[in-house]
């Protein structure tokens, strides 16, 4: 028998019991629809996540941490202090810059000097302040205003959206741009801007506390202009300042007694007048000594990220590219896909049982016909193929209609998702895609399930004894 005849006969037989075939196909449609929707949701979310990652440039980044044993991007990026580690000093920065394929490095600083942010009388506490080279390597999702720029000097900050929310600018982030806020440091802050007095020479009784050289008692207060609101979802809630300002925060400033030539009064003749001790302000760039919290090295091509990471590790510091942590996050999607696909798979399995049932019924009904076909020359294999083909066709149509319905539903879902994304300031569009491979896969799997479901009934049909089949009442 020719392929065309199989198609023709299968088609005709399916149409023979219209309602029964329709119900059987309907069961497959339900399975195929759910598989389509679930897989397209997951691939959509995955694709969206990937594109976000790609546009963030994360794939071309290698995070460098003083902690040598660090293996994943996020903890490397978080950096941290480690006294016994190789410090991320400017010397190391230069070495990282010299690694082949590295096209730029951004230094990151975590600072704990600032304690509170106040706007319009409302005071919020700050966990930490971050700073980084505003050279375009590290980018943030800006909801209003702009990101920090290289030209920015002290007194310019960006804040994360949840601070803006708490200041009452939810939905109106632009309203906070250009406004001045007050930043207050913790006590004993002696960095830039701190009012440090040289110790006064006590004549007679004086309070010991006032005699504390180089320690500033009161919190220092800065006025800063908010130039941008960044998305809190990007990372933790924080205030970001230009890196040079952060360097200022971490600069240790204290008065030290100048060296004086000692005058030995015991040998002096006449009145001995030892010179008054003089003090001068000494500043120490702690950042230069302690090194940066972390570095982000930008690589010319994401393919080189892993190699660069290995190279940087040879400098005795920790380094990690983002691929591992991104892959880890992608596994979440994959697992989600498996779980959701599994639910669809159960629907498909039920549909397969329906196909088996329908085919067994059809074979019972057509036993005599099978006998006639055998009598006029149909081989066992022909009978088997015929019924397998018929079952596959049930699966095929179920798949086709299922994908069509699934497609319609994803379009509808996209309308809602687009709205949701737009409200979050994301310019994503129709993220629940239905890639061609998914369409083909669902139709293919449905057909395959129909085929598999048809195998047993078909082999029963093929095994029928022609004489008995002809005698079947």
């Amino acid at each position: 028998m020719k392929l065309f005849d199989y198609i023709r006969l299968a088609f005709r037989n399916i149409r023979r019991q219209k309602l029964r075939s329709a119900l059987t196909i309907f069961a497959v449609v339900i399975g195929a629809t759910s598989v389509t929707i679930m897989l397209s949701l997951v691939t959509g979310a995955k694709g969206f996540f990937k594109s976000q990652v790609e546009s963030s440039g994360l794939l071309e980044q290698v995070a460098v941490s003083p902690k040598q044993d660090i293996t994943d991007f996020n903890s490397a990026n978080n950096g941290g202090q480690c006294d016994s580690c190789t410090k991320l000093t400017d010397a190391i920065v230069e070495k990282v810059k010299a690694v082949p394929h590295v096209i730029g490095v951004a230094r990151q600083v975590q600072d704990g000097s600032l304690e509170a942010i106040t706007y319009n009388g409302k005071k919020l506490s700050l966990q930490r302040t971050t700073a980084y080279d505003a050279n375009g390597i590290i980018t943030r999702n800006i909801l209003a205003g702009r990101d920090l720029a290289e030209a920015d000097k002290d007194g310019v900050i960006t804040i994360t959206s949840d601070y803006a929310d708490k200041f009452g600018f939810k939905g109106n982030y632009a309203g906070l741009i250009g406004k001045d806020v007050t930043l207050s440091t913790r006590g004993f802050y002696n960095g830039v801007g701190a009012d440090i007095q040289p110790p006064v020479q006590c004549q007679g009784a004086c309070d010991n506390n006032n005699n504390n050289p180089g320690q500033n008692q009161k919190a220092t207060v800065f006025t800063a202009k908010v130039v941008g609101i960044t998305d809190t979802n990007d990372s933790d809630a924080t205030v970001r300042v230009p890196i040079d300002w952060a360097r200022g925060f971490q600069t240790m400033r204290m008065y030290q007694q100048d060296k004086v030539t000692q005058v030995d009064c015991s040998k002096a003749r006449g009145p001995c007048n030892p010179p008054q001790p003089t003090f001068s302000l000494v500043t120490t760039d702690q950042l230069a000594i302690n090194g940066y919290a972390s570095l982000i090295a930008k690589v010319d091509n994401s393919k080189n990220a892993a190699g660069v990471s290995t190279e940087i590790k040879k400098l005795g510091v920790g380094a990690a590219d983002a691929s591992a942590s991104i892959n880890q996050q992608l596994t979440v999607f994959n697992i989600l896909g498996l779980v959701l696909g599994g639910i669809g798979g159960i629907a498909m399995a039920v549909a397969a049982i329906g196909v088996v049932n329908t085919m067994i019924m059809a074979i019972l009904e057509r036993t005599r016909e099978i006998g006639v076909m055998r009598a006029v020359g149909a081989k066992r294999s022909t009978v088997r193929s015929l019924f397998t083909f018929e079952a596959s066709m049930l699966g095929f149509w179920g798949g086709v209609f299922g994908v069509a319905i699934g497609f319609g539903l994803t379009r509808v879902a996209n309308i809602f998702v687009n709205k949701q994304l737009a409200s979050q300031g994301l310019k994503a569009h129709d993220i629940i895609g239905l890639p061609v491979w998914l369409i083909l896969a669902v139709v293919g799997i449905s057909t395959l399930i129909g085929l598999l479901a048809g195998l047993y009934p078909a082999s029963r049909a093929a095994k029928l004894d022609p004489v008995e089949a002809l005698r079947y009442e």
Partner: protein, 241 residues
Amino acid sequence: MHVVNKMHMLKLKGLQVEPIIELKNVTKTYKLGDETLKALDSVSFKVSPGDFIAITGPSGSGKSTLANIIGGLDHPDGGSVIVDGNELMHTRDNKLSSYRNEHIGFVFQSFNLQGNNTALENVMLPLVFARMKNKDRKARAKECLEAVGLGDRLKHKPTQLSGGQRQRVAIARALSGKPKIIIADEPTGNLDSAKGEEIMTLLKGLNKDGITLLIITHDMNVARQAKRVVEIRDGKITERR
């Protein structure tokens, strides 16, 4: 190889015509629980090409069993069956299917037409399995339906045809593969005598054109028209005429 053997035997026996059907000691037993039933008990007989044989006998005597074995629908338990040079005893199912397709035309008592197919499609069925081209098989099926006088009923479904017409469609179907042998199991059993006569005339005409005809019947009026009558009782054969 079988053909060579047969020729050899024919020479030994000095026969002129090579038989188209040759059965030797064919037995078929059915086991039902403890009882064994000999449907065919060492049946031997020969049919020459172009012969017209009626097989008669009481109900349950083994007529259909014999016909099915000759037609390659059933396997005997013992003996040998050679039809048109084909040794059927040890032939596998696949080849047996081709054998039925090419050599045998079946006509049944209850017509056995495909209910949802037209007359034309029913007649085309053997040609579908013969992998004939769609155009050719249509032409051939039409030719056969015209031969049985149903050239104007091509698109009719079995339910839209009378009993006699249905049996004629069945005969056209048996004819379509140009078989050398037509086996008709009670072809007139479901028809009144007038319609039965029409069918017999049709079948006799085919026999005249050279087709070997095997008719199973217990209708004496039908058997009488055959060139040879074979009677079976309890699975044993007795030649009548």
